[in-house]
């Protein structure tokens, strides 16, 4: 029978590979869009490259994102099979990994929802494209951190150890907020999001300059 740890390694490689590909494709997309918006016409060859890269990077990032999120769920299952439950429950480092993985997975799922709802149009505005890219890349940064924690769990260390040491990040003690801070975050963030939603909605309903609707849904789309 195949060692569950080997299967877990394979699923980790898969989700890490896909999600890094998503991040890399997003970077390529941002860079090529920036070239086409700001420097188009300076070099015909680079223009062609930017157009080509922009075309393949967008679907590639979306596909990799979906595949990566699915593979991460699979790796959670294989991970729970590969390690004894008693060790998982007792280890502070495992708790750190679960916490970081949960947050990064939330961000990736959010990016998929955004992309699924607004399709490739998300890239047609510089602000929305950068917001989407920031979401995916933040998820990638957290995923890199979670893989570094996994390296410590496997007893192999991590290439990032020196950097983590400089940044004062210790992956061994359990990462927790004080209880009051957790409660504050739990309440304040959803309320802030709701308020931001209301403000955005009011801005959409309010009449624009000259009495025209702001940018409400009544405005015909171009």
């Amino acid at each position: 029978m195949v060692d569950p740890r080997v299967i877990h390694s394979i699923t980790i490689e898969a989700c890490t590979g896909f999600l890094l590909l998503a991040g890399a494709a997003v970077i390529v997309k941002v860079a090529s869009d920036w070239w086409l918006r700001s420097l188009r016409g300076r070099s015909a060859r680079l223009d062609r490259w930017a157009i080509s890269a922009s075309k393949f990077a967008e679907p590639a990032s979306y596909f990799a994102l979906i595949a990566g999120v699915i593979a991460t769920f699979v790796s959670m299952v294989t991970g729970s099979l590969a390690w004894p439950a008693s060790q998982l429950v007792a280890s502070e480092t495992v708790h750190n990994k679960i916490l970081v993985t949960s947050v990064s997975q939330t961000l990736f799922i959010g990016a998929i929802l955004l992309r699924a709802r607004y399709r490739f149009e998300i890239w047609m505005s510089r602000g929305t494209g950068l917001s989407y890219a920031a979401l995916v890349l933040t998820g990638d940064a957290l995923m890199t951190l979670q893989n570094s924690i996994a390296g410590h769990l496997a007893g192999k260390g991590s290439l990032l150890d020196d950097m983590l040491h400089i940044l004062g990040i210790n992956t061994h003690p359990m990462w927790v907020y004080p209880a009051w801070a957790s409660l504050l975050i739990l309440i304040a963030f959803p309320i802030s999001a709701a308020v931001a939603g209301l403000v955005l909605r009011r801005g959409r309903m309010a009449p624009g300059p000259g009495g025209a609707p702001g940018d409400g849904e009544s405005k015909p789309s171009a």
Binding site: L114, G155, F189
Partner: protein
């Protein structure tokens, strides 16, 4: 001539510079392959105290051992002393470290060794047997006793503590000296330990390292797992005829799982002995105290002879320590003294407490709430922005 001389001068300068670099930067020692010699003279338990000036180490094999921290000199290599008497393995390590061991919350470091059978290679693997000194995950304050661990990741404290010794650090500025001395039975009988076969051929891997940069340590810059050195150890075949002989025999197993406040009841089966005494001391006592053993008049067959069960109580210890004791059995045909030890420690940490678990669950919920809120705001923002730009 002048250009030729200039070229020669430049060449000589370059060669001198290279030589200077080569001589100034000591290359880390290569992995070692050693055979730990059989020596009938043991290191006394009292001398396994982290003081390099005491103890019968002159007949031990000494060699440079590279550490897994991969650090530059003087932190990347230690001097190890090793010998065995067929029953116990005696090890001592003299090394350098960049911080002193002040407290668990202040600057402190750990030194650890993992041993594995030849089938298990690598810096930190399952199936390895560990001993750690000074790791604040296991030890909250000096004295820095050895903590017997298994090969879990991270290492877990072995329920059966089978190492006796101590580590001490010396000096007033970096590099600080440290010495760790300890002994263990060649075969401890604990399935959680690697049972060593002293046959001169069976090979074992040994990995040693220090850490001062966090994770059971703090305040320094040494990370424990930069490189992997597959150090190979073998153990010379013992020569029992060189050991002191006596017709008096002692069969005894030290107690395990002793906690502070627990009185210890010792029993031993003695053959050809009519009287016995236990001499014991803990880590803070400067001399031993004697306790007579009582013959319980219970006969136990011992290989064709009759042994008798003797027993004694040792007093409870108020705080974590290591108790070293010797059973001195005497009879008409002579006497025999054998030394043992047991570790007095708080019960192993059961992992994460319910309170910590609750705090963590709250933190997890808060983090997810934060991430979900950010995604929700982005969702609304993107919708509004795209509509405003008419896409």
């Amino acid at each position: 001539m002048r250009p030729a001389l200039r070229r020669f001068g430049a060449l000589a300068l370059a060669v001198a510079a290279i030589l200077l670099v080569v001589l100034a930067v000591r290359a880390p020692a290569a992995p070692v392959s050693v055979t730990v010699p059989f020596k009938p003279t043991p290191v006394a338990d009292a001398d396994l105290d982290g003081d390099p000036a005491t103890g019968a180490w002159s007949d031990a094999l000494s060699f440079l051992l590279p550490l897994e921290n991969g650090a530059a000199a003087p932190y990347g290599t230690v001097t190890m002393y090793a010998k065995q008497d067929g029953t116990h393995l005696y090890l001592r390590v003299d090394g350098k470290v960049d911080v002193p061991w002040t407290s668990a919350s202040g600057t402190h470091f750990w030194f650890g060794v993992l041993v594995s059978p030849a089938s298990v290679t690598g810096h930190h693997q399952g199936g390895q047997d560990g001993v750690f000194f000074g790791d604040s995950l296991f030890t909250s304050a000096p004295p820095l006793f050895p903590v017997d661990t298994n090969g879990a990741k991270p290492p877990l404290v072995d329920p059966s503590q089978d190492d006796l010794g101590e580590m001490r650090a010396f000096g007033t500025s970096a590099p600080y000296d440290f010495t760790a001395e300890w002994k263990r039975k060649v075969d401890t009988g604990d399935p959680g330990d690697v049972a060593i076969v002293a046959d001169g051929t069976t090979a074992y891997y040994l990995y040693a390292t220090t850490d001062s940069g966090g994770g059971g340590s703090g305040g320094g810059a040494l990370n424990h797992n930069a490189v992997t050195n597959d150090n190979v150890f073998r153990f010379e075949v013992p020569r029992p005829e060189e050991l002191p002989s006596s017709s008096v025999r002692i069969v005894h197993e030290p107690p395990q799982g002793v906690t502070p406040g627990m009185q210890v009841y010792l029993t031993a089966v003695l053959t050809n002995a009519t009287a016995a005494e236990v001499t014991w001391r803990n880590s803070t006592m400067t001399s031993g105290l004697g306790v007579p053993m009582t013959n319980l008049s219970q006969a136990v067959p011992q290989g064709g002879e009759t042994g008798w069960v003797f027993a004694a109580y040792l007093p409870a210890q108020s705080s974590p320590t290591q108790v070293r004791y010797a059973i001195n059995a005497s009879g008409p045909l002579g006497f025999r003294v054998e030394s043992y030890f047991y570790t007095v420690a708080e019960p192993p940490d059961a992992g994460i407490t319910a309170e910590q678990q609750g705090t963590w669950i709250l933190s997890l919920a808060a983090s997810l709430s934060m991430a979900a809120s950010v995604v929700a705001v982005l969702y609304l923002y993107v919708g509004r922005r795209l509509r405003r730009e008419g896409t």
